[in-house]
């Protein structure tokens, strides 16, 4: 009797340079080390049945990755998570595990993703000005941007794939003091711990960043379409907004803080099915 476990995991700074393919391989080996009764595909070259929600680009961190593991034998999700965690390298951690009672796998269900994008604006930019430009930008019915696909450059309307975007300043950061990693679209000042900690890291090790004016650093929070039917990377939104506003943005960091499945017109939590946002 096959059973399936769905986990939520974190991919931290330590492992952000691993490609998606290498991350899959890493999980396969960790599963083998954990002696977890993983199910294998049939055929000449059997592969463990592990399905990941949505590939993460090299260099991007995330506290909301999801994967489904199909097992030969039933196992308590807590035990599964504990055993796997003992065999995962620093930077990768299972934070939640549940029996997967859905009929399809996570990859087929993913519909939306939440990103934090830390940027450095070129020139003097006020946050109020930026906010108003952003809301005007979002008022557009169509936003065309060029996308390369199969060697051809195509013009694509990305507006339908943008659910929401907000921008905040990143100032007065005292990483560690803040507890919440939740993102609120109405908040003033970035509260995302991953972003704030990263700013501290930049201050410590990036010579160029040390010389930059902190008031030119902003964090965009964006909820975008994701998954197999429609997928938008945050870089495109920044690029399109940069062209629209005439401001040059250098992306310093991208962090994924949410990944959602879809239920009718709602984005839901992949582990609980709870409705999180309506789109």
């Amino acid at each position: 009797m096959l059973s399936s476990i769905r986990v939520k995991f974190v991919r931290g700074e330590e492992v952000k340079y691993i490609s998606h393919l290498d991350l899959m391989k890493m999980f396969e080996r960790a599963v083998r080390r954990s002696n977890i009764p993983i199910a294998y595909s049939k055929g000449f070259n059997p592969h463990p049945h592990i399905v990941f929600g949505l590939p993460l680009s090299v260099g991007v961190t995330s506290d909301s990755e999801y994967a489904d593991f199909e097992l030969e034998k039933d196992m308590k999700p807590e035990e599964f998570a504990q055993r796997l965690n003992q065999n995962l390298p620093e930077g990768v951690k299972i934070v939640e595990a549940k029996k997967n009672n859905t009929n399809s796998n996570i990859m087929a269900q993913v519909a939306g993703a939440l990103y934090e994008v830390l940027v450095l604006a070129d020139g003097k930019v006020e946050i109020e000005d930026l906010k108003s430009k952003l809301s005007k930008f979002l008022e557009n019915k169509e936003i065309f941007t060029e996308k390369e696909s199969k060697g051809k450059i195509k013009s694509v309307d990305i507006r339908p794939m943008i659910y929401n975007v907000a921008v905040t300043t990143v100032k007065n950061t005292e990483a560690g003091v803040l507890e919440s990693t939740k993102t609120d679209f109405t908040e003033d000042g970035c509260k995302n711990l991953w972003i704030l900690k990263y700013v501290e890291k930049l201050k410590a090790e990036d010579d160029l960043f040390k010389q930059t004016d902190e008031s030119a650093v902003f964090c965009f929070t964006m909820l975008l379409a994701a998954g197999s039917t429609a997928n938008l990377k945050p870089e495109f939104v920044i690029a399109a907004f940069g062209r629209y506003s005439g401001i040059n943005f250098e992306i310093l960091k991208i962090h994924r803080s949410g990944l959602f499945t879809k239920n009718k017109d709602n984005l839901t939590d992949p582990l609980g099915g709870r409705v999180l946002l309506s789109v």
């Binding site: 330590e14 340079y17 080996r29 080390r33 070259n45 090299v58 260099g59 390298p89 930077g91 990036d206």
Partner: protein
Amino acid sequence: MGIRVSDRILQSVEKPSRYTGNEWNSVKKDLKGIDIRFAFCFPDVYEVGMSHLGMKILYHLLNEREDTYCERVFAPWVDMEAKMREHNIPLFALETHDPIREFDFIGFTLQYEMSYTNIINMLDLAGVPVLSGERTKEHPFVCAGGPCAYNPEPLADFIDFFMMGEGEEIINEVMDVYVQWKKKNLPREEFLRCISSIEGVYVPQFYDVKYNDDGTISSFLPIRDEYPKKIRKRIIKDLDKVFFPEKIVVPFTGIVHDRIMVELFRGCIRGCRFCQAGFIYRPVRERSADRLLEISRKLEESTGYEEISLTSLSTSDYTALKELTDGLICEMEPKKVNLSLPSLRVDSFSLELMEKAQKVRKSGLTFAPEAGTQRLRNVINKGVTEEDLIKSVSLAFEGGWSGVKLYFMLGLPTESYEDIEGIAELGHKVVEAYKNTPKDKRGKGLSVTISTSSFVPKPFTPFQWEPQDSIETLREKQIFLKSKIKSKSIKYNWHDPELSFLEAIFARGDRKLGKVLLKAFEKGCKFDSWGEHFKFDKWMEAFRECGIDPSFYANRKRSYGEILPWDHIDVGVSKKFLEREHEKALKEEVTPNCRANCSGCGATVFEGGICVE
């Protein structure tokens, strides 16, 4: 606090995970209580260095010591090196990211001659004086070992001391002496003096070389009587008792050999006369099947790897191969672990074994007849006949294989154009064998690949006195062979003779080559074994500017009486034996393998393995 390479830099280079470390089973230690910090350097990129078994063994062996922290260092790829130089980032170790110039030891493993410029480049990038003579008490000791260390002379100016032979014991002995030396705060030379009495340690600065007018060596002597006249390599007598890691680092990114490697035996019974490995690793010593099964089991559990490779110079010669592979298949198949069996002679047993063990497409099988005629195969003592080969490929074709790779060498001693034509003929006969295989049995789409490398005469082989063909001759031979290959099913690949020429120079080089290496490094030579970075013109400029004739090393025939640059190194195999083998080669006489009959090579001095069985 280690060096923190900014994301801005890491994001701008290819494969940043080469530089971030933190892999599963990489060793983390608290620096408190550590007396020795050892930077184990592989002078090539991460993917190549991480595939090297010797490094895995010694890394974990050194880290077994409570007083020692061994970390890994690889040559940063050119893009990363440029960024490091631009931002003044010195070469750092993967585990702590600390600059290696602060370490006690910088140790290089010498796997191929064309990595020598990378050694100089890495020292320079580390901020350590590249010349041994310019290092002071502030600097680490720079040491080296590995197969190329058997002729250490071209690197004598750069390396403080070499460790000859198998490293498992000697490296611990050297570390023990170091701890004592460090406590006493003695001068740098004192440490080198102390370790020079450890068997296998060679300190080049303690030896004086004099030359004749014609450039050959007139004398090679220790500067003081207390230093050994001959340095004998070290071997491990009992491979079942010696340390073998139960954990190995599992990289995040694909490496060249991304699997568990278990070593069946050291040495080779065959004695092919061109093959350095066949002589320097004598005597043959096997690990027991039980111990190999135990090692495999533990490594599989600790790594989660999905493949185990059995490594040796000639897997078919392992006496307990059936017992071992039966045991491994039985244990590993349920775990979906593949067996990989390189260096396997193709016969009915091995084909059946491959069928059982390997879940690979039946695409390519490799054969290495090395020479095109029986005459020349007798010269090189490669005990393969045409009949053997055709029988083996026919078996393979009948088993459904359809791809065959054939490896040969061009420029072997006594080679004639007839021998070269023989390569093409052998290729045609393989094609013929395919055609003679029933259609329902053979695989579709025959592909035969003939590859030729250029013969490089190596120290400690019967051909150590032989000249290498000139680049022009080698090229003519390649063109000739190409013209003789008529079948459309045969693809012909060849090696650049320029690279082989440089290999021949440094393989048998002396101390005078140190300045050429330095000059070539200054001209930007590095990653020479990577085609796109090999700058032959710069190398030739370096030779010219140093007033050194490269053909003196590559293309000159030596006499038996000449003092060879590596004569002070004792690998067990005697010069007399090599001379005898050389004579037999010229007479086209073969020598039986060690198991069939002892030919008195001299390796019995080690009282181990096959010599005492």
